[in-house]
Structures are given as C-alpha cells and as structure tokens.
Symmetry: C2
Subunit: 337 residues, 2 copies
C-alpha cells in the first residue's frame, strides 16, 4: 500500500461518506433532473428505467462530476444537468451490458432484462442514451458534447473488445487494462473532466481531472474483479463467483493462469469455457488465486492506479473537496476482498 | 390516387432514379465518411457494421439530406458528414431492431445478429450511435444536434411503444400511426430538416422540409406494410409474409380485423399470437386483407401522406431537385403490393 493512501487511513477506515456529504445537496438536484427526464408517455420507459435508476446505485459517476465542480469552486448549476446525462449514459450501458451478459442479478435485484425481457432493455437503453444527448444539447457546450460523445464511443468499443476476448484465458494483462480503461474508466474520466469545462478552467485542470477519474475508474474495476472472488458476499450486490461462473477473464484469472502449472492452466481454461461452475470449483479457483498471489497483486495494481488518481489532484488546493476525492480513492482500493 | 401524383406519372412510372442522379456525387462523399468513420481498432466493429452498411441499403435517409440541400442550393459540404451521422443512427436502429425482433433476414441477407450474435449487434449499434454524435459534434451545430438527439429519443420511444403494442390486434389506427410516426418518420423528418439548418434558412423552410420528410416516412412505412402481403417477393429484400408470421400488427391487419366478423377476428387474434404461420394461413390472411379493402385503404392512406409530403414542397422553387423529391414520393406510394 502506498504512502499517501496509508497516511490518510491512519485514524479511521477510509470511506465514501465525505464525498457523499460534499455532494449531497447537489445530488438532490441531479436526482430531480434524472426523475424528470426519464419520463415518457410510454409507461414502460419510466417503469423499466426507474427499476435500475432507483435500484440502489451509488451514483458514483454523477457524484464525481459534482465533487470535481466543488474542487474548482464552480458556483453555477450547469453540472446538475450534465451529471444526470452522465448517469443516463451509465444506466444505458448497464441495461445493454445485462442483455449482453445474460445477467439475472444486479445490486442484489433481478435485472431489467429478466423482468421485462431483452428487447425492452435494449430499447429503453437507447432511449436513455438519446435523452443524455438531449440534456447535453440543452446545456449547449460543444466541448462537453465532444467529451461525452467520445467517451460513449470508447465505452462501446471497449465492450466489443471485451466481447471478443470473452472466455479467452490467454488475454494479456495489457489488453485487459485496455478493455477496462475503455469500458469503465472512460466515463469516470469524462464525468470529472466536464466539471473543468463548466467551471471554464484550462486544459491543465481538464487533464488532471481526466487523469483522476480515469485512474480511479481502473482501480475501481480491478477491486471489483478481486471482490468477485471474496468470501464475503455482502460487499457487493452481485453474488460471489459470478465472474467465475460467467467465464469472465479478469485480471486475477489472467495472473493465476499465467503463473499456474499445466493442470492449473487446464482448470482455468475449462472454467472460462463454462465447464467448472460448482461451489467446489469456485473454492479451488479462489485457492489458486490466493496461492499464486493473483488476488494480492490485482489489489496492488488497483492501489497503483489509485495512487495515480490521488497524485493527479496535487495541483488543486487542499480542502474539503480534495480530501473527499482522495478518500474516495482510498475507500475504493481498501474494500474487502 | 391524388391529382398531382397522377399528373407526374402520366408519361412513365415514377422512379427513385432522378433523386439518385441528383445526389450521386454527394453520396460518394457521404459513403467515404461512412467508411472512414465506421473504422475501429476492434476488427469486429467494421466487420459487423460493414455487413449492414454495405448490404444493399438505398441510403434513403442520407439521400434525403442531400436532396434537401440541393433544393435549397446549399453550396457547402457540411451535409456530407451530417448525412453520414443520419445513416449511422439508422444503422444502429436496424441492428437493435433485428435483435428486438429476432430477425434472421434483412434485404435478402442474413442479419448481423444471426451471424455475430445479439451481444455484438447491440454493442456495435451503440458504437455507431455514439459515432453519429461525434460526427455531429465535429460539425458543431447545436441546432442539428438538437434535431437529431430529439429524433433519436423519439425513435426509441416509438420502438418501445411498438413493443408494448406487440401482437395486440386491437391496436387502434391512431396509435399505429403514432408508432410509425416515431420509429420511421422522425428520422426522415430530421434528415430533411437539418439541410435547412446547414443552409441557414429560416424556421419556415425547416418546418416545410420536416413535413416533407415526416409525411414521406409515414407513406413509406405504410407501403412497406402493404407490400409484406404482396404476392411478388421481389419487391423487397425481406420475404413476403414476414410481418404476418412475426405477429406484427400493421395497418392492413388493424383494418381487416376491425372490419371482420367474429371468425375473422379470431383468425387475426390467433395469427398475431403466432398460431397461424402456414402458407395456407398467409393465403387466407391475404384474401381477407383484399376482401375487406384493408390493403387498398392502407395504400390510399399512404397516398394521402404522400400528397402531404408533396404539398410541403410548394414553397420551394420548381426545378430538378423539387421534381426529384416529388417523384421520390410518387415512387414510394406506387410500389407494387
């Protein structure tokens, strides 16, 4: 664990609470925009969208827009609408992801595709995606539109890249980091960066906030990947071992496979092909992930990216916002696995 | 058939050729943009997108942008990029439609979802949709962005509305027109309207071109609905009776059901539920559609909207562009059924 994350954690475990407190008031405004703009004359749209939007998400991405705006002392209200646009892009992505993965649970609840079917999830995702662009157009900044349309294209590219790598246990660490950099980190980066645009800051601040979000996003995803093999199911809404049973080739698997002997590699190959789905198989997988140091090293990798996120904030003045943003990173990389 | 469509057809059958000739040069530029911007480092993206984009579509929507720009004597090149954006939105919609409908054929070829699977079709659709917004952002007109982001949201709403009405033979004619007004005509309208924006014309010209596209779109869809019951399969790429076997409640079915006796209504209800899929059933359906006048009246309705499209052009000067646009309508409503 790196020095500055250590220092921060000296008195109490790191928490997302400071960032939530920092953004709580603004987040009410964002939630009002979200509720207002997910409406439609077609009742299925708010019904389905509301299931996911009201379904216990942390609003991590809009919160990052709001915290970044606070960091820059932005006095206006444009970021409320834009944070809602970011959340709509995220929600659209989740709806399509669950169709692509055939998922049945998210955040501990049945997924929209299970309740309403794949067609409705695809189409309501499209609606929310279009609505997010309508919100950006209302804001009127071509720079914000450019950042978020580019992020959307990168996310979709990352998702296709992941699909192509599906079940391929020989995926390299480099390619995996490329995939999560696109499918997860691009929206984190954009969510932070647009705050610098509305606050009318220069390219330097834009890039710093982009780097903060991007590195946090990668750290966040790597910890999620490790947690999927945690023994404690309460840490996440989804069940432990979901990635394993779905044959998702994440960094822990890539490392354990690369470091394993011929038997281990055969096991991982079979597992990623979907032929090892029992509890015993999962226990064996977890044992391999621990004995090879794959989980520890995934977390170490997450902390490295986390530290980069923290370092990107050094150009901004110390204060409540910066502390909350640093602690959010520390929280992300300290979650149990 | 209304008077002005009649006049036009006096010497030869109406054709799309004049519009194709009018826009051929510009369309080469649009195709270059399309080819260039569907590229990606992820090979599956251009492969899948190219299958549909190169697959024999008429480029009807970009052609409408180009023809409208010619009608307004627009001398610039901005419309090339924007016409490509329109085609990307259309292609994304088709990819998602085929997933939603579980289609296996389009324009006489196997659909992308059959070749590459639903997940790839969903994600490449998302990519093209994002790319279309990137193209619009590069153009830099917030007005165009507003028109096309709004059209996209309306299309998605229309698709969800259609999904909700699926297999419901009691769908009203009014609701059906609302559905196709959203899912088909909104993009036709936007494709035409944006030409007035790049040509920097006033609201009057924008509205007129919007009305032309919207009414043409509705006419176009209604004729497609009738042709699905035509005896001549060569008219369209898809097979005759596809809508019938898929239980798609289109205007011909709505009219035949409403005008039928108890037996007929039971037949239509069963058919739309998917219980009447034999060739004999299709022959019976077609006989009912003809005996009740449902096909004739669907075509009459299409001609009504077609006439409105033509009337919307009266404010523009006569000439090659206007004639081509009028003849495109005449062609659309004169296709065999």
């Amino acid at each position: 664990m790196t020095a500055s994350i250590h220092r921060l954690n000296a008195d109490r475990p790191p928490s997302l609470d400071p960032m939530m407190a920092l953004t709580a008031h603004d987040l009410n405004h964002v939630n009002a925009v979200i509720l207002d703009r997910m409406q439609s004359d077609i009742p299925l749209i708010p019904e389905l969208a509301g299931h996911l939007i009201a379904g216990g998400g942390k609003r991590m991405r809009p919160m990052l827009t709001l915290a970044s705006a606070r960091l820059l002392d932005y006095p206006g209200a444009r970021h409320h609408r834009l944070a809602a646009a970011v959340e709509f892009i995220h929600t659209a992505t989740l709806l399509h992801d669950d169709v692509v993965d055939g998922s049945d649970l998210r955040r501990g609840r049945r997924t929209a595709n299970i309740i309403w079917g794949n067609p409705a999830s695809v189409l309501v995702g499209d609606f929310l995606f279009s609505r997010s662009f309508e919100l950006m157009v209302e804001d009127g900044s071509l720079k914000v539109l450019k950042i978020l349309s580019n992020a959307s294209a990168v996310i979709a590219e990352g998702e296709v890249n992941q699909l192509t790598a599906q079940r391929q246990v020989e995926t390299t660490e480099e390619r995996y980091l490329q995939i999560i950099g696109a499918k997860t980190a691009a929206l984190f980066a954009a969510a932070c960066r647009i705050a610098a645009v509305v606050a009318e800051r220069g390219e330097g601040d834009e890039q710093a906030l982009d780097a903060y979000g991007r590195n946090l996003g990668i750290a966040f995803q790597l910890v999620d990947d490790a947690i999927d093999y945690a023994s404690d199911a309460q840490t996440m809404g989804k069940g432990v071992g979901d990635d394993f049973r779905d044959g998702k080739v994440t960094l822990p698997v890539i490392l354990a496979h690369a470091r394993g002997d011929a038997d281990d590699r055969r096991f991982w190959r079979d597992a990623m092909q979907g032929h090892r789905v029992s509890d015993d198989d999962l226990a064996h997988a977890t044992a391999l992930l621990r004995s090879t140091g794959a989980l520890d090293d995934t977390m170490a990798c997450a902390r490295l990216y986390g530290q980069r996120a923290i370092d990107a904030l050094t150009r901004f003045p110390a204060g409540e916002a910066r502390s909350a943003m640093v602690e959010a990173v520390a929280f992300a990389v300290s979650r149990a696995y």
